[in-house]
Structures are given as structure tokens and as C-alpha cells.
């Protein structure tokens, strides 16, 4: 089920695709969660490098 177009937010609840639960990118929520975790780890690694970078 596709997302509704912007601007239709005032429709009644029963008309909306509230059960729409498709992951919009990467194919599945599990893959999306993995991407978030990996990105968080990468950010932390970059911060560790930043802290110790010989400026």
C-alpha cells in the first residue's frame, strides 16, 4: 500500500492506510534497523577518531 500524498492528513482515520508498515528503503525493517545500528557505530568511531586526531 502506497503512502498517501502530502496534504491529505485531515482525512478520517478509517480512510487512511494505518496498517501500512512497509519499510520505505532497504526492503525490510530488519535491514533498516541494521543500517541505523551500523551508522551509529560509524558515528561513534568517527567521534573517537576526532577526539584523538592530531590537530
Amino acid at each position: 500500500m502506497a503512502f498517501r500524498p502530502a496534504g491529505s492528513g485531515r482525512a478520517r482515520m478509517s480512510e487512511r492506510p494505518r496498517d501500512d508498515d512497509r519499510a520505505p528503503v532497504l526492503g525490510s525493517w530488519r535491514a533498516l534497523y541494521a543500517a541505523v545500528v551500523v551508522s551509529a557505530l560509524v558515528v561513534m568511531a568517527l567521534l573517537a577518531v576526532f577526539s584523538r586526531w592530531p590537530f
Partner: protein, 579 residues
Amino acid sequence: MAVLTGPPAALAPADWAVVVVYLVAIVTFGLWMGRGSRGIEEFFLAGRGMRWWAAGLSVMATQISAITFVGTTGYAYTKGMDFLAFYFGLPFAMVVLSATLVPFFYRAGVFTAYEYLERRFDGSTRTLTSLLFLLSRGLSVGVTLYAPSLVLSVVLGWPESTTILVMGLSTIVYAVYGGNRSVIWTDVVQMALIWFGIFVCVGVAVSRLPDGLGLRDALALAQTTGRLETMDLSLDPSCRYTLWSGLIGGMFLAMAYFGCDQSQVQRYLSGRSLAESRLSLLFNAFLKVPMQFLILLTGVLVFVFFHFHPAPLLWNRAELHRLEQTAPPAELERLQREFDAAHRERRAAAYAFGVARRGSGDVVAARTRYIDAQARVGSAEAAVRHLVEGVDGRPYDDTNYIFPSYVVTHLRGGIAGLIIAVIFAAAMSTLSAELNSLATASVVDFYRRFVRPGAGEVHDLLVSRIFTAFWGLFACTIALQAGRLGSAIEVVNRFGSYFYGSILGVFGLAVLTPGATARGAFYGLLAGMAAVGLVSWLTDVAFLWYNVVGAVTVFLVGLLITAVAPGQDQRRPIHTAGA
């Protein structure tokens, strides 16, 4: 001796114009977006029609209060960037919440997170958790308003009450009229303004470095004083911001705040589908740490900025004025001389260090000289603080005054006005979401259950607006009466930590253990709060760990009670349909 406190800094006409335009525009926009609210689903959940990015920005804006913006930059100035660890657990918490609680809440069609607990356990658990939310959030909403008002009143000389009432009443106007739709859309605009302000702050701080010194030199100076350290690997539980307390304690705090605090739950329950609700949290998982990094970096750059520009003896002008009236003049004059001399020496040493780094001198010797000079500045500042504490007879902390002082004394051409508007935006975005959520819990968890069940949409909408106004005026009253609170950012965060972990434990029982009983959840919650109270009273464990203690205690005690006294009360039907 010379008078240390001159008149407060005055905003230029261009700055005033920016602040006034912001206030008028945001109230007008809030009223415009909130037009036509017809029922409480519209009023409390924006008709469940928000896109993920709008709900996500609203989640972000709700969390970043003015206290965060002002206090965090001040913290980075005085101590460095280790506070970033506080947010390390947040992305992981967002993943856990998106995968667990969000689907439960969304599919249950609830208005409040606590409503779900009645469906899963019983009405008592819902009532107690909602009451804890009203208590903790109701008190902190006053602090949300008070802390920035106090700082702006001292720095700019504005009457504290005026600042509180301007921010409070303008927020009340659009929150009462438009409900959550107004709250979310103004949050979007305010968050965009905050992001813009952050980049302007960083840019200005870099551009104001002296000729011959660049960003790398500034970072080298900050690094030499330990202010770029973000990864403290210490295992000492009394250390406040370590990698471990941030990852584990911060994750529990974030799960509790975003998963069990109605002011956040209501943001993503407004999503037009479950996928949009999940995405709004994951959006924050990506952006929150980088945003806090930039805010802390701003504080560090302001620290370097004041290497090359005069800094006041105290950042709190009111306290400095009081010191002039009460401290021995000769002592104060001596401290001022030592302070000025230490700053002059540090300025020269910092510049020499920067020049030496570019190949024009002995870097090691220049670095050593800079470290010594920085230590002398630290000693001079400590001596002044000691004098203040001796005169006042209480601890002195002016962390929250540093950044606003920098803004109003060194930024020109409307930029000071922009940053003041950003501070207003941060305060108002948090306040509006809190008012909306406090009204929701009051109406849905109490009024519609115990006072007037089934009164109809028109009546409920009217009562919802009355409760929003009530909580707004309550916040203004608390803020007007509030006294000194120390470092305001930690007061708010700590206060929540006494309840958050325990409430998270109840939701953990609800979602993860199908057999857990209402009795187990209720007494587990009481045990969790008692455990947190004992830990805070008897140990010096850092406050981030309270969330872990509370959640784990509730979970274990709840399971134990369920095992010892299994009941027939799990998975009771919800009592009030649709509310």
C-alpha cells in the same frame, strides 16, 4: 576600584526585529496550521495524519529544550565534549522502540502510552504511570520555561517575568487553539531555525578567530585542554559521562523517554501510518548525535574565542554585581588583576602555540607554555568562584550564562537576535509539546474515565483546550516562582531519571512477558522507584544508571510476583473505548 558590571548588553534594532518577527510569525503560523480542529483525535493526535519527517522533527524539537541548547554549550566551554556520551545509546533505543513499543501503541489505537497498560494489565497501573508522568512532566515544564528566562533576564537585563510570560503565553495561544497539529508544524519550523542557528554559531565562532589561526588551531587548543574528549572508557560508575554509562544508561533513558513519556509518544502516534511512526524515530536515530556534536562544538569554539577576547570575571552579571556590593574591595581588585593577567598570558601563549604549530617555533615548548597558562586561568577562575561561594554561602555555577553572554556581547547584524530567537524556539517547541501531552494525559487518562465519561466530542474538545491552558498557566506560575536550580540541564534530566527507568520496566513487562500480571506490574513499579530512591540516597552512582536500576528492578520484581502469586488478571480489556 573600577566598576565590573556595566549596563546589560543591549540588542541592536536588527536583533529586536528578528526576535519580534520570529514571535509574531510562529504564533500566526501555529494558529493557521491548527485551524479547524474538530475532535480530540484532531486535537491530540493531529488526526493521525503526519508525515514521518514532520513527526520526526517534532520529536527532535521536543527533546532539544532551551536548557539543552544553552546548558550544553556552556558545559562544553567549561568541561568539554564528554557530554556527547549521554546520547550514544539513543540510536539503539530508537531501533528497539521502533521494533517493539511503537507497533503495540499504534495498532492499539491509543491516545496515551499509559492507556495501553490498562489494556495489558489493569486500570491501576495506567493510573499510576500516568500520574507519575503528570507529576514529573508537570514540574519540569516549569523548569523548561524558567531556565532560559532566568539566563536571558540576567544577560539582557530583561525582567525575568516578562521573558517567562512572552514565551509562555505565546506558546499557550497556539497550543490551545490548534492542539497537536499546531504543535508539530511549529516544531518543524522551530527545528529548522535551530539547525540554521547551530550552523551560524559554528560559522561565526570560526570566523572570529584571530588572523593567522584557523579551525585546526582552535581544535588543537581545545584538544590540549582535553575538551575534545568524547570517549571516556572509565568503568567507574560514579563517572557521569562515560562510553558505558552513555551506551547502557543512555539507552535505557532514551527508551524510557521516547517510549514511555507521553510528550514524545504523542509525536509519533500522530504518524499517518505505522511505517511513518517508526521512521520518525529512526530519523532521530540518524541525526541526534551529529546535532549534539555540533552544539557541543559550538561551546568548545566559544571557549577558544575567549582566549582572544576579554572574558568577564563572572558570567552571571547579577552575581557579579552582588559580589561588588558584598566582597572586600581589595580582595576583589586583587582577583581581577590576577584574572586579567592570567588571560593575557593565555592569549599570548595560545597565539604562540598556533604560530609554532605552523612551523615557526618549538611546538612542544609552546604547548607546555599554553598548558601552564590555561592552568593559571583555571586557578584564577576558581579563586573568583571560591570568593563568590564564601560570600553567598552556597555553590556557584554560571555554566548556563556563558553562551548567551557570548551571543549578546559579540554577535552583530541581527545574528544575536537570530540566536535569541533560536533559544526562544527551543524553549517553545518543548513547552508546546509538553502542554499538549499533559492535557492529553489529564483528559484521556483521568477526566474521561473518572469525571465525565461519554460526554461527547464537543465537550471533550473544550475540556482539552481548558486543560492545555491550565497546564500552560501552571508552567508559567512554577517558572515565576522557581528559585535557584544549579545547572538546570542536569536538574531536568535527573528528575526524570527517578521515574523513567521504572516506567520503562512496566512497559518491558507488558511487551516482553505475556504472562506478567497486573499485580506484578503495579508492585514492581513501586519497587523500582524505591530501588532508584535508595541508590540515589546511599551511593554516588551517576544518574544515568538510575534508569537501568529502575527498569531492571521492576522487571525482576514483576516477574517474581507473577511467579509467586499468579493471577487471572492479565490481558484485561480496556475500560474506556476509544479513550
